[in-house]
Symmetry: D3
Subunit: 133 residues, 6 copies
């Protein structure tokens, strides 16, 4: 159970309620995710975080579905059940089937394994590789 | 410096040399990455790992460039300089400019922060979200 | 469920029982935390760990409440539910309200995100910054 | 070396230059940290991140020095040299001596060890502890 | 709950069924672990991963029980309940009692703590130590 | 460079000097590792940590070489260059050759990859497996 109370929409101040309304409008879902309700005890942080979500996940050089895949991959690497669940749901809403989700996790598996093995052998970056930067 | 000697191409057994040749052919580069030279002391592991690289990074439902982005994102989350350098180089070879690489890292930043904050507040996954799985 | 049996107070040897008594006295609580009951299968490790807890969490240059905040922050970064729960409870016992706990997690969020982004961009420490050490 | 070019002050657009000026004014230092120069390729992300830094590290329920300690502790747990260096320098600027920095790391050591051991033994949170939340 | 459906033996293609049969034969257990059923949506990845399991966990310079201990230790450090449970069960099947499992976790605790503390103090490797490599 | 000064043997108090002497005697090496010199600013923490090293790494149910392997594996998973270097050196002093070190890292690679993939797919532990605990 969350260590802090969730600030429900009925209890939100006008400032927080306005952010909640923007979250619902942007996500197109009938509820505000618990993550935002948990951090609403610090309205300025909630606001600055939500503004950043819109900037980072909004239109740019990388398309939205790829960003959702990266969200799931990073959350798997960092070990966050909440984010893995939420963004896998988002991917499914964009049409991803089980085979695609497993293919994504195959990449996470491959590099997570190599990452730790390379640390354990202290292998230095390739000169030929880095000089191409 | 690597804690084990790198098995140079000139010192490789025929079995290892054949894998090295396949790596060079597949990567289209004039050298074998140090990672493979380091693990060549255990030829069966080198071979099984290389076969898996080809399966995981080869054609599928997710395109190669997206897989390289995931490789960089996961390696950043896991803290592996070698893989970050190698796969950022690969991304640049596929046309990524600095702005795209920073946009990728913005996603890594956003979710790595949320991942740890959610753990710290012990927020449970949304019922509404998970029920859509 | 724990992969090892918990050594209950009624089953403890005299050596372990004496440590349990010291834990209860120091923590001022009517029970011994499960963590200590789990490691009591290795009494010398239990004893050395408990002695270290007293040294590290005891009086020094940093006050106890700040140490509890660091305990929660580190446990969030490392992904340990048990320690997050236990030390958030301790913080609440020292008067922390939900707003303070969220403010603490805002710091964890900010730096966990930057930590991984900086790894992903391989940014070197500032000369101006490090030269002040 | 950074995988992206740093956007130097002399090359910054007016939008980025204004953020750089605010950073210098807020930190009271004669240079802009490399982290911000690296992410300036994505001005909206730079701006949203800097705004969030000011909110999270600004006045609140937790004092600034404690927040710097948490920044160092979290960066140690996540393995980020850049942030460890930068925020240890900040702590020293606020008067911390070597003994205090080691005392801080003793807390990081204690809980990082317990965090992983508890995961390895799958110990469940204490009922008595959690029921006090 | 798993974010993808498990591919049960009754639904498996001939290719996947053959791998399942090999897994059951090798592990000597009456069921196929859920991990393999989850990744069977990507048969080539399942096959390449299973082949690698046999190579890495098979006979070599390090005995099987030590490899199982390393599996538990690494899974504790990386925070994976599934692998901790599965490989602790394997260790118990090889005769490990609670005292041995706690002794293993004592090593994980000791070094996980030191790992993060050393990162936080930025201590460089000893010249005398590294020169012996 | 370390963020704190190392307390050299010539500058140590009698209390610290006695611990240094015990470290040299126990490790059988002509110098005190930098890790201990860094934390000597907090003598009680140095002492409690060193006592715990002796208990955890001393004789027990698991032999010393296996403990050194676990130290390297855990340090690779946690990303600590210092500990990887120091304990790989220790392993080499006990006769480990490059092939054995790579075999050790193959196990770290295998499970680190599976650990993160399982988190990303949220696979639950096998009932058949856990019921054998």
């Amino acid at each position: 159970m969350s260590t802090v109370a969730l600030v429900e929409e009925s209890d939100a101040t006008a400032e927080v309620a306005a952010i909640y309304a923007d979250i619902r409008a942007t996500f197109g879902m009938p509820f505000v995710p618990a993550m935002f309700k948990a951090i609403a005890h610090h309205p300025a942080y909630l606001k600055a975080s939500w503004e950043r979500v819109k900037v980072v996940m909004g239109p740019g050089l990388i398309d939205r579905k790829t960003k959702e895949m990266i969200a799931v991959a990073v959350s798997a690497a960092n070990g966050c059940d909440y984010c893995v669940q939420a963004h896998t749901t988002a991917l499914k809403g964009m049409g991803s089937k089980d085979a695609e989700i497993v293919e994504l996790m195959a990449v996470v598996d491959l590099f997570s394994g190599f990452n730790k093995m390379l640390e354990g052998l202290q292998v230095m970056p390739d000169i030929g590789t880095t000089s191409r930067n």
